[in-house]
């Protein structure tokens, strides 16, 4: 990008920030961030995922909902080692795509005792509860699931949530079951795809891997990365794309089976 365009862009960003009432420079210099631990992603985000902000996650397709939920959980696990997290799940979501499962949380690096699970009946309730959660100082992260495309969480609603998050500095994650084309006030928007894992020496399943597409970033460039989540160390690590793709094509080999 030529220097002149970059300057224009940053000027425009500042103008927008002024309109939206946020101090961009303060966010960029003094705002707290949550580093993921995967270098290139953190660089694009300007150090890490902004705390005190709202972030939108969506799976690349219905099949990848598990991955999107897993990414949200991994972020929540990184956000607060001891503080509780609040997971808001509409009844329809748990019927359609499974209810949050405690032992799986523990296995992914977030002890289940740390999670508060709120089940609500309607999408508007999800947003109300999320705002309440964001205003509370005791939670490290609030994850809210939304099953519909965007009608419920429009620009106004996400702006409200952003304001609530900014006051206290919590991490708000809006997990949409489908990517929404609607504009929103979220700081970032991610599309998550499950990536084939790096197999272990016995050709068993490897560490959980994701392909992240950063579709919107108010503080920097967009991008696409393949990363891996180490649930023991609770840290993300970049996964070389070439290696990951090489592991895909093994259709000619019968899978080796390990006794679990």
């Amino acid at each position: 990008m030529p220097a002149a365009e970059t300057a224009t862009l940053s000027r425009l960003r500042e103008a927008v920030a002024k309109i939206e009432g946020s101090d961009l420079s303060a966010l960029e210099t003094g705002g707290r961030v949550l580093p993921l631990g995967a270098g290139p992603v953190d660089t694009a985000l300007g150090g890490g995922l902004a705390l005190g902000a709202l972030h939108e996650l969506a799976p690349a397709g219905a099949l990848h909902l598990g991955a999107a939920a897993g990414f949200a959980l991994a972020l929540a696990a990184r956000a607060g080692p001891r503080k509780p997290i609040l997971w808001i799940q509409p009844d329809f979501a748990s019927m359609e795509a499974g209810a949050l499962y405690g032992p799986g949380l523990t296995a992914l690096g977030l002890p289940m005792q740390q999670a508060l699970l709120l089940r609500v009946a309607r999408p508007t309730d999800v947003l109300w509860a999320m705002e309440e959660g964001l205003k509370s100082r005791v939670l490290s992260a609030i994850v809210a699931e939304l099953t519909d495309e965007g009608a419920a969480a429009d620009l106004t609603a996400t702006r409200r949530l952003t304001l609530a998050a900014r006051e206290v500095g919590g991490l708000g994650l809006l997990l949409r079951h489908r990517l929404s084309p609607e504009p929103s006030a979220a700081a970032t928007r991610w599309e998550i795809t499950a990536a084939p894992s790096q197999p272990d020496a016995f050709d068993g399943l490897g560490r959980t891997a994701f392909i992240l597409s950063l579709l919107k970033n108010r503080r920097g460039p967009l991008g696409r990365w393949t990363i891996e989540w180490d649930h023991h160390a609770r840290v993300f690590a970049p996964l070389s794309v070439a290696v990951a793709e090489a592991t895909v094509d093994r259709s000619n080999r019968a899978p080796l089976i390990r006794a679990g």
Binding site: P84, M112, T208
Partner: protein, 496 residues
């Protein structure tokens, strides 16, 4: 039977045919004991305005303990007048009596003349009444009539032993109860609050703000009472008495002992916002009562310096979410000591951490919780990760409440799946770990009908990771000549 029928000389125990013979134009309706009982409940609810201690005396009576309440209404006589008048406005006719004992009041209300029996005058008040007034059954009354005993005066001073021998212990007991020689407590319909505050309005109020303002004022009164006792409320109830007799009750559990009036107001504001039209003020409320049904020790804490009020903040958050969505909807996840995936975690209501009374009031069985905690003490729940040497998490993060049946193809009947179809999409298995064999625990499966499951962690060619299982051990539980079912495959959960 209504008043008009009574004036014609009909009596309640008369056969309908006899009554029709006397007055062919008589209108008769079938008795509806259920509706009567409901009406009685409603009236009892309404009577709550006089005293929190109201007992049901089915099928046609209510018992009110007005000890210490009468002066609020200007004395016992004034209370009776008020009660009769207000009930009359609702189209109900009541006969009321005030006495020292339940038995005496019962008798005087039904058979007596002067409604108020002064302290210690039970004997005189009872003497002229018929024996039925002693709450005895018809056989006993008939038996007594045969020997010439008609009125209570005839038996009241007789030696107890022969009476008991002849007419049973119950009969003697009724006499003693009516005279106050034997104690007879009123069983309250509703739990008695530990503390309460109430306010009456000469003009009914209807606006939400007024109601909430009153709740806050009442909470301030309650705060003073509870502070003196060093307690906080765990279960609060607001009773809204509508001018036309209906009573709305809103209950709120809290995660930690609560006294702060502003927080009480906020919680009820949330609750009212959800209820919306369900809590219709109609012509307005003429009385509000705030009661703390369950209280708990609550010591004032120094806050601020060490940031030690996090617990309080969390409790407040749980309260607010609970007030809006119901406390049972906000849960903590607790591991349970079992290998059966669907039972390995329990969603425990987040507020019910410590007080078993609150749990009971919310309808949870405290006994089961005790058994579970005993189990937990016995052996800590298995840490899933430690005994499994896989790089990947061994349990899914989302579990389907009902495992979804899939079509799967395996190379050998008891081998792992090669490809499978879930929700009409075909998935090629790229990598698989398993089987992890999980059998039903014997106490959950007394008949031995439940089949063993072989779980597989699979990764599809697209990278999606899923938890599948095959039900039934091939050639042991299924696939035999006598039970030639093919194995059934299910998808139970999604990994990250």
């Amino acid at each position: 039977m209504n008043n008009a029928a009574a004036r014609l000389g009909l009596i309640a125990s008369m056969a309908l045919a006899d009554a029709r013979a006397m007055y062919p134009a008589l209108a008769a309706a079938d008795a509806d004991p259920h509706a009567d009982a409901k009406l009685l409940e409603a009236v009892a609810d309404w009577c709550d305005r006089y005293t929190p201690l109201v007992g049901l005396d089915a099928p046609d009576g209510l018992l009110l303990d007005i000890t210490g309440c009468a002066h609020l209404f200007g004395g016992e006589a004034a209370l009776c007048r008020d009660l009769i008048e207000r009930l009359a406005r609702q189209g109900l006719q009541a006969s009321v009596a005030v006495a020292d004992t339940v038995g005496c009041a019962w008798a005087v209300a039904r058979y007596g003349r002067a409604p108020i029996v002064a302290r210690g005058e039970a004997h005189e008040a009872l003497a002229p009444l018929p024996l039925v007034a002693l709450r005895t059954d018809a056989d006993t009354v008939a038996g007594l009539a045969q020997v010439g005993l008609q009125r209570i005066a005839d038996v009241i001073d007789r030696p107890r032993a022969p009476l008991a021998a002849r007419y049973g212990q119950i009969f003697v007991r009724r006499i003693d109860q009516a005279l106050g020689r034997e104690d007879e407590p009123i069983t309250p319909r509703l739990p008695l609050p530990a503390a309460l505050a109430e306010r009456r309005f000469p003009d009914p109020i209807g606006r939400e703000e007024d109601v909430l303002g009153t709740i806050e004022q009442l909470a301030r009164e309650l705060d003073r009472v509870l502070e003196r006792r060093g307690e906080g409320a765990r279960l609060l109830q607001v009773a809204l008495f509508r001018a036309d007799g209906k009573v709305h009750r809103l209950e709120l559990g809290t995660a930690a002992p609560l006294r702060d009036p502003a927080r009480v107001r906020r919680l009820f504001a949330d609750r009212l916002a959800v209820l919306g039209d369900e809590c219709d003020p109609g012509f307005g409320f003429d009385m509000l009562r705030l009661s703390a049904l369950v209280t708990e020790r609550f010591d004032p804490q120094q806050s601020g310096l060490a940031g030690g009020d996090e617990d309080a903040d969390l409790a407040h958050l749980i309260d607010r979410l609970g007030a809006r969505f119901g406390l049972r909807r906000i849960a903590r996840l607790e591991p349970r000591n079992t290998h059966i995936p669907e039972f390995a975690v329990a969603a425990v209501p987040a507020h019910a951490g410590r007080n078993p009374k609150v749990r009971a009031a919310e309808g949870r069985e405290p006994r089961r919780a005790t058994a579970a905690s005993f189990e937990a003490r016995l052996r800590p729940a298995p840490q899933n990760d430690e005994h499994m040497d896989s790089l990947a998490p061994v349990r899914p993060i989302r579990l389907f409440q009902r495992p979804e049946q899939i079509e799967a193809i395996a190379e050998v009947p008891d081998g792992p799946p090669v490809r499978f179809r879930w929700r009409r999409v075909l998935h090629e298995v790229a990598r698989v770990e398993g089987p992890e064999r999980i059998a039903m625990e014997w106490w959950r499966d007394a008949q031995g009908n439940k089949l063993t499951r072989d779980y597989f962690r699979v990764e599809s060619r697209d990278g999606a990771r899923m938890w599948l299982y095959r039900e039934g051990l091939f050639e042991r539980e299924i696939g035999q000549p006598e039970n030639p079912d093919k194995p059934t495959w299910y998808l139970h959960g999604l990994f990250a």
